[in-house]
């Protein structure tokens, strides 16, 4: 239960982070969920929320080194006096920020779907997410976004492409080294590579 909340909490933080996204696209954070988050992180004020959000942003999105954990880590769940909010979950994520980011990224797909039944998310939403989530760490995403916007034939991004893009960013460098033509990348990414090569040629 606690873990589930944690995921929700963190992931919704992601959502809150991108507060500028069109509200119509993303399911708004419901009140009960919000309350669970607040109690989980022991957040009582907007300023505390802001601190928590910016912590997570720095850790996961900007990939900065985590905050220093206080030496006297309290075993109890009790909030330490010098912490602006309960950072237990934060430390968990900090232990392996890569995995945490992957979970966040995967969650964002579900989060961004316009309806639970749909199999893909709209192009505009996807590119907006990529810009926010991936671009700070992986510069190649900027090119991908440009490519997707330029080509009219990609209307939606399905789950497969969504998750493969993260892998693609991990594997392929901005100069396209690490890409293998006979790999099993989704054809959209093959076409992207083609497009980029032609462009730089």
């Amino acid at each position: 239960m606690a873990h589930g909340c944690g995921r929700n909490g963190k992931d919704n933080k992601g959502g809150v982070d991108e507060g500028h996204l069109e509200a119509t696209v993303c399911s708004p954070v419901s009140m009960p969920v919000f309350e669970t988050i607040s109690s989980y992180y022991r957040i009582a004020s907007i300023s505390q929320l802001a601190v928590a959000a910016s912590d997570l942003d720095k850790l996961l999105i900007q990939n900065l080194p985590p905050l220093k954990k206080p030496a006297t880590a309290s075993p109890s769940k009790k909030k330490l006096p010098d912490e602006p909010y309960d950072r237990t979950a934060y430390w968990n994520y900090a232990a392996d920020s890569k995995v945490a980011f992957k979970t966040l990224y995967a969650y964002c797909f579900t989060f961004a779907k316009s309806s639970p039944a749909s199999r893909s998310i709209e192009k505009d939403t996807a590119t907006a997410f990529w810009t926010v989530l991936l671009a700070p760490q992986y510069p190649i995403v900027t090119d991908i976004v440009e490519f997707v916007n330029e080509k009219a034939n990609y209307k939606g991004i399905n789950k497969d492409v969504w998750s493969m893009i993260l892998d693609f960013c991990h594997t392929v460098k901005p100069d396209l080294s690490g890409y293998e033509a006979d790999g099993a990348w989704p054809s959209m990414l093959d076409e992207f590579v083609q497009w980029k090569k032609e462009k730089s040629a």
């Binding site: 199999r119 399905n158 789950k159 497969d160 492409v161 493969m164 790999g183 099993a184 989704p186 054809s187």
Partner: protein, 722 residues
Amino acid sequence: MLYKGTTNLIIENLNRLAQEDLYPVFPTGASSEPTQQSHEAELLLKALRKVWDEHKSNVVKLSQLLNYMDRVYTTAEGVPKIQEAGRQLFLKHILQPPNAIHSHVIDAVLKQIRLEREGYVINRSAVKECVDVFIGLDTGDHGMSVYERDLKPRILSESNAFYKNEGVILLQTCDAPEYLRRVETRFISEEERTHHYLSPQTHPPLRQLLQDHLLTANLVEVISMLGSGFDSMIDTHKYDDLSRMYRLFIMVPSGIACMKKALKDSVVRRGQEINRTTSEPTAQEVDQDEPTAESSAKGKGKVKARPTAVSQTLTLALKWVQDVLDLKDQFDQLWGQSLQSDRTLESALNDAFETFVNQHERCSEFISLFIDDHLKRGLKGKTDSEIDSILDKTITVFRFVLEKDVFERYYKSHLAKRLLHGRSVSDDAERGMLAKLKVECGYQFTHKLEGMFHDMKISDDTMSSYRTYLENTTPPDIPISVTVMTSSVWPMSLAPTPCNLPSGLLSSCKSFEKFYLNRHSGRRLTWQPSLGNADVKVAFKSRTHELNVSTFALVILLLFEDLPTSDFLTYYDIHEATAISDSELQRHLQTLACAKYKILKKHPPGRDVAKDDSFSFNEDFSAPLQKIKISTVASKVETSEERKETQSHLEEERKYQMEACIVRLMKDRKHMTHNDLVHEVTHQLAGRFVPNPLDIKKRIEGLIEKEYLERCDDRKSYNYLA
């Protein structure tokens, strides 16, 4: 003391012999006449042999005399026995490099060889005897003979220079067949030479020299020689020259590859020529229509389909297939006769045919048309075996076609027409063809075609029981014959063609429907009047004719039945009354009013039917025959729009086939890597068409989205999701 004396004796003797026999015959160099030179060399070689023989017999005698010394003294002192010493001394005083005799003799041998290569006759035995001396003399260096040490390297380097030059000269002076002839002679004569008067062990290196200089160096030049190379040999059917070329080329490793390339190029070039000539008339038509497209259309040699008269397409198709068959025959003959049925070259041939056949974008259609034509009329008066061989040949061309599903599409529609219109000449030939296709492409391919045959047979049975059934009831006014076609098997569209049948026909249809649905409840019958035909008696002024017309034409004719002869029906009237679609109506009106038999009169007269024309019955019609078969004006061949539609249909079908294939494979294997999967799918579908890896990838992605498959963590393989 005695030993030393003996050796001195031998030396003295040798010097004397050299003085007497060898020095006088040293080449004077005075004459440049080859025969003279040859003679001089011969004398020297003979003299050497004489000296050697004399020396040998002397030494043998001495060694016999001094046998005791050999046993007691020589072994103890560690000096060579007399015989051995004699040999060494001979070497030292006659055949050792600083000695003039040595170099003169070697020069003489080389000169003789060169002279013989240049075509002069020499005394081979003299050379041989001398060479034997060289071979027999051991240099004392690991059993290496003087021949190996001194003569062989010189011969080889001399030959090297000679043939290097020869290669260049031959290339400049001879055409390809002549070149090959000369080269072959060289090979034979060199082999003889080594056999007759040189050591056999010299043969391999010499042969290598020949191969290097006469073959490997000039392969490409010879094969592509303008006006006499490979291509023109084929043109002029010079099978002997070609087999010589094959014999020679196969000796060197790069030769076969070179021939393969030449062969392939030649076939592809010829094939493209055929492609070009058979699309030319269409190209001209395009030119008339769109002059701007001229260059591009001609340049490609492929032309987008244009409405052409069917007959023209047919002639083109027949010509194309016939030409391809002829070409195939020609090259098969060549391959068997001259190329010793070489497997590598056969695959090159097949490759080449595959290349150009598939470059012709209408290859499938043309092959199907060719078969259609032969099964419809071309087989009359031919024996069964002739039919069989024609069809067999067609199959060989068909084998080159990559997009077999396209062929199937055309074949299906051609077969359907043959069956429905009873145009097929021989049922056996039809079935024979089907069997051949089955062998070639498997059960799947002919499944539907067989279904069509099956339907025809069932329909016959149904009709006979329908007639029995009618005997017991009141038959409708118009007897009909029905072919029941399984909709999934026949290529016709399922959608009913609009046509208002007259009441007489309708009641016939109803009667059959009642009968049929009684026997097979739950089935649905859709009438396809567009495919039927009818016999109708028409009373003209002069006499009554029995006309065989299509069902549509019948429906049109019946509109005029009760009309006063002078009355007109406008196009619009007919359209209203029959509800036949515009294109079909125009076609059938054209048949009735503008073709060979003018049953109707068109106002105003003309060749094409326009929407504001009107028609009247042509009472004055007369024809010599009582029964007239009025064949419908053929519809135009596929227009480019139709073609596009066919294409998209095809692509759709291929998508399903790829998906089905992927799912089948994954269900079986549960887990596969991406490359394996693509490879397997390509392999399995190769019998029908060649799938593009990118398309397969897209299908895989589609299946991932539909959650039939999932990606594994390594990103390069997939799991099947049950």
